[in-house]
Symmetry: C2
Subunit: 266 residues, 2 copies
Amino acid sequence: MHNRLLEIISVGNELLTGHTLNTNAQWMSRRVTEFGGVVKRITVVRDDIDEIASSIKESLRRKPRWIIISGGLGPTYDDKTLQGLANALKLRLILNKDAVKMLRRKYSKTQDPALTPSRLKMATMPAKARPIENPVGHAPAVMVKQGSCTIFSLPGVPSEMEAIFAKHVLPVLKRNIGKFVRLEAELETMGVMESVLAPYLDNVVAKNPKVYIKSHPRGYSKGVSTLHINLACKSTNVKLARGYLKRAIDQMKESVRKAGGKVRTI
Amino acid sequence: MHNRLLEIISVGNELLTGHTLNTNAQWMSRRVTEFGGVVKRITVVRDDIDEIASSIKESLRRKPRWIIISGGLGPTYDDKTLQGLANALKLRLILNKDAVKMLRRKYSKTQDPALTPSRLKMATMPAKARPIENPVGHAPAVMVKQGSCTIFSLPGVPSEMEAIFAKHVLPVLKRNIGKFVRLEAELETMGVMESVLAPYLDNVVAKNPKVYIKSHPRGYSKGVSTLHINLACKSTNVKLARGYLKRAIDQMKESVRKAGGKVRTI
């Protein structure tokens, strides 16, 4: 299990003022969950060195196998993630030669190729860190190990985060986590209140320990209560997972009908 | 400052599998920020009693004035927030008589008014907690104090969370935080890379300590770099805030032009 545990730390004031919706964390969570990883926690912190450092230290204490940080790698004064990461790991910040090479290659193609202090800031990383090429933007991402935890620090710009995640993070995670499938189904029920369905749900849950089941109230439409029921099964064996899931779906549907509701797969 | 510090804890596996986007946290952050509150951290945890309890204890250690929890108040087995909250505060869970009354009123209007164990679960709260009427759904929200921190626990269904927040939480926050205004502006720059603008930005930031300024790269359109620059000023005095913000906007615009870019307010 430990190999599959991951935490996400999102850095950025804009996520805490409501200016920006945290779609990055959702995107990563979905990718990680799809192949059997488990996102245990998401933490959102401000662009503040101490906040970044303390959130990383707190996360390390919970002993996830992976931490993925996004945001705060850019060239401006408010991009503070690498300093926070260095403080958390008690490492010095040093100019990373490989990262400088990456930046030189990128900026040499522009009209203004000088490696100014603002640009070199993006190559100034915790000692021990390994830079990861950014195929979309400029700021390299960072990988660094701390004990049994591997930390990735990715940019906050979604297109850059997604490209680096797909190309460099996902293969490493998959290699370590192994082959898992996660099958999922969603039912919609009409005409049965969640509080009425609850004991039936408990019963189906108890009978299907391999299947994760959760109900989500979707409010009332013309006085009729609507629920969505999410069912998921994770396994190294697709055929087994399919069987577990089907059995739980059938029992769930039967329960909804017994409770007086209508049900369909959506 | 302490009076204005708030943390949000979002409870729900669906937020950690990527099934659901955490719009609740954004919605609350925006409301809190608008009137001068400061969301210091957002934590997302699974539907797990120990995870919920430990996230609340960790938050209390950071000494915010307010904690708002959302999610996990419903009638089903996976709604575990009140048990987690009770554990975090070392309080017993008891059947709250006022909450039972609220539920009785609500269900008495339905065809099936019996207060079953699943329904009474929603009225089973930490001792000391005060139930808050839910104007939209069934599950009452909860308010409980711990030292100098006030904790609100709200449902996760957005319409219910929003209604209770607007009617019962916001007035309490406003009364305690006082009268603040927060003015905001957004500029769009074209044709200047963030790494080129960085030193100009530093300069404007240094000259405008009352204004919060942050650049957000928006990628390249036809080879032209686009940035959004967010400027915000918080004050008890609207006129002063307007003046501070205007000065920073003017300086920022001038800087972008000096750096070779185009700029407009959006």
